[in-house]
Amino acid sequence: MAETLELLSIDFWQTLMAIGNLIILYFIVKKFLYKPVNEILESRAKEVDDIYSEAENMRKEARTYKETYEDKLNKVKNETDQMIKKATESAKLRSEEILNEAIAEADNERRKAENDIYLAKKKAMEDLSTKVSSMVVELSKQIVQKEIDLDAHQKLIDSAIDKLGESV
């Protein structure tokens, strides 16, 4: 039977060795388990953070893009609206102008026509009056001549009628 310790014995060196072993093992575990695992966990956390911040950046970018596009779209819309408005206005203006011109022209034409008609009427009246007077003179002359020259009567009438026909 080999030499053994008492079941309940306290030995200073043994206790010290137990403490020393615990401390050594502490450093072993710290160095070989905790340090690498913590490094990995940290780098993973960092990576996750990076991914998150990247996603955040991308979202921000997307938002700015969206805003720009919306701005642009609004601008374009406004421009088109304005253009349409302008075009409508100018078209309206132009159509009014055209209408006014047309009305004025028509007025002019009418006035001109009325004038013409009036002038023609006047002329015709004047013509008629001169002709009637001359006819009366002629007729009276002829009546007078007839009494004088019967033979020439027929000739005169014919010529008068001819002349009348010519003048009318």
Binding site: M1, A2, E3, T4, L5, E6, L7, L8, S9, I10, D11, W13, Q14, T15, L16, M17, A18, I19, N21, L22, I23, I24, L25, Y26, I28, V29, K30, F32, L33, Y34, P36, V37, N38, E39, I40, L41, S43, R44, E47
Partner: protein
């Protein structure tokens, strides 16, 4: 049939009264195993875990960290490696009996040493929090008359921690030994009429001690390790909360 329940065997003696016993050898083996296990678990870690090893390593670290967070709070984050070391050492020591090694925790010197380390931690945390004066003043509360009791209570902490672990492990091994001896006696009594070596067949020692060993070595061992670290964390965090 001789039943002997003794402490660790002395392997050789060095000068200055240093004795190298089975306890030391077991401890060195356990330290080597834990060190190699840590090295193996973490030998090529990647940010994206590809091996089951890495998952195991991370789970261990995270479990200890979470436990520490729950019991002690965030400010004791640097305490985690110590708790992990203590837990691993106690568990492996308690389980080493299964592999035929002498269980270092069945030696009072070992558990006393660890309990002294824990006691120093409690003391230093207390002094760091309250200062030396605050700590000494805390001993005289609630009245000066209680000072001896408080001092005894202070020293009872490491003693009870050491004794708890030692007592649990040792009682397991004592009961196992006694049962084994009893079963041996029983089987030799039953088989005594058989001729020759047949009388020495250990029929009863086959199954029953295994069941007992599962309770005492595995269940009780892990439970006591858990309780040891829980008590450590509880005492230290209690010491850190100023009174």
């Amino acid at each position: 049939m001789e039943v002997s329940i003794t402490g660790a065997r002395v392997l050789f003696r060095l000068p200055l009264g240093i004795t190298i016993t089975e306890t030391q050898v077991s401890m060195w083996i356990i330290m080597l195993v834990i060190g190699l296990l840590c090295k193996w678990l973490t030998h090529d870690l990647k940010v994206k875990p590809t091996s089951r090893r890495q998952v195991v390593a991370e789970t261990i670290v995270n479990t200890i960290n979470n436990l520490l967070n729950d019991v002690m709070g965030v400010r004791f984050k640097d305490f985690a490696p110590f708790v992990a070391t203590l837990f691993a050492f106690v568990v492996f020591s308690n389980l080493s009996g299964l592999f035929g090694l002498f269980s270092p925790t069945a030696d009072l010197n070992t558990t006393l040493g660890w309990a002294i380390v824990v006691f120093i931690m409690i003391l230093s945390t207390n002094i760091k929090t309250n200062g030396v004066g605050g700590y000494l003043k805390g001993l005289t509360e609630p009245v000066v008359f209680f000072t001896p009791l408080n001092v005894i209570g202070e020293f009872a902490t490491p003693v009870s921690m050491a004794m708890r672990l030692f007592g649990n492990v040792l009682s397991g091994s004592v009961i196992s030994t006694l049962l084994y001896a009893g079963l041996a006696t029983l089987s030799s009594f039953v088989l005594q009429k058989l001729p020759g070596f047949l009388a020495n067949i250990p029929i009863f020692q086959l199954g029953i001690p295994a069941i007992l060993s599962i309770y005492f070595d595995v269940f009780s061992g892990v439970l006591q390790a858990f309780i040891f670290i829980m008590l450590t964390m509880a005492y230290v965090s209690n010491a850190a909360s100023s009174e």
